[in-house]
Symmetry: C2
Subunit: 229 residues, 2 copies
Amino acid sequence: MQRQFETELRELKNRILAMGGLVEQAIEKSTLILQTRDPVTVTQVKAIERKINEENMAIDNICLEILARLSPVAADLRLILAIIKINTDLERMGDQAMNISYNVDHYHEDGEVTMKLNLPSMAVLVKNMVREALDAFMKDDIVLAEKVLQSDDAVDQFKNNVFNKMVEYMKSHPDRIESALDMILIARNLERMADHATNIAEDVIFACTGEDVRHGVGKAAREGQEKPN
Amino acid sequence: MQRQFETELRELKNRILAMGGLVEQAIEKSTLILQTRDPVTVTQVKAIERKINEENMAIDNICLEILARLSPVAADLRLILAIIKINTDLERMGDQAMNISYNVDHYHEDGEVTMKLNLPSMAVLVKNMVREALDAFMKDDIVLAEKVLQSDDAVDQFKNNVFNKMVEYMKSHPDRIESALDMILIARNLERMADHATNIAEDVIFACTGEDVRHGVGKAAREGQEKPN
């Protein structure tokens, strides 16, 4: 049974990895819209998000079925529970990508501001966090998972920077308030994706070690930096 | 064993209910800060959030332990998995309450605007959704869970209304942009809490019926209303 379980687990992990690939694509394409304002890309993000949702439900079903049929314990059980949570976080990241692409109508109202903020660089940071969190998951790499937890600070700083710059911009350009608000909201969408990536990293640490690091010093410190929200 | 399992499940459900009570308190107190700007209340929200986090970890541990020891199947297994997810959603609501209270420094910079927006009424809507979602959970009440899913629309409308009003306000009061932004962000925090309540309702339906309603028509319709995000 253990061998069969291992085969099924490997398949399941590969599916999570593939779902992570879809999330990376969704991040890439949704932020590409910032530069291109291309409605085709919006349709693509929608299609990717639909696939993510389908995978989300399929993976949950497989986990339920494995739990019922094989009743795993100890590290194997922790891994299945981690997969259930990681699955949820990846699905929510898809929702965030959709939120970014929803606002497409406002983009490029002020291309100069968009350029200055460098949101695509923020998106690259977030995408790397997702990739590293899933690498850590695939390789049971706690050190890499810890690195993901630390990367969250840079994303928070990026978000705060966008917030402060846009507040100043709105004060001097009250006619451009909607566009500036869009930038603030997009930065927040990206930051929420980064939060989901840190959740995944925490789940990886839990699956590997049995240690629950969610509300420990690391997380408290990160939460402290959330202000202003 | 079934009897023992039922006793343990009842205890677990009561703990989730108590955690929901803490979340309701957190919503109430964090939005009270809007009116009172009382730093004591901020400390109270912090303490409640800490309790929520402790419960979050304790409940996850109990679920893991029950799965390992009793290997439940079918409806019992679905219920445990639903509890794991509900537990996560309640914890994230605590984070949102904290986010609201973080911004306390800006509150009352413009009491008139705060009054006009009626955010406390929005908070009551959200609190009711949490209570009804957990009532549905305790009583296996699918009809009530469906009602929670529908309530989400009213919260979204509230959020959009706050957004639109504050955009207009910022245009005519560029010196009050930070305060207006706070209102937008608080409305979004509340709306995210409502999203978590709908997640709980979906988990209740899944636990009761085995039917996964997450990405069905209902959810798609709700997601469609998210714009502008």
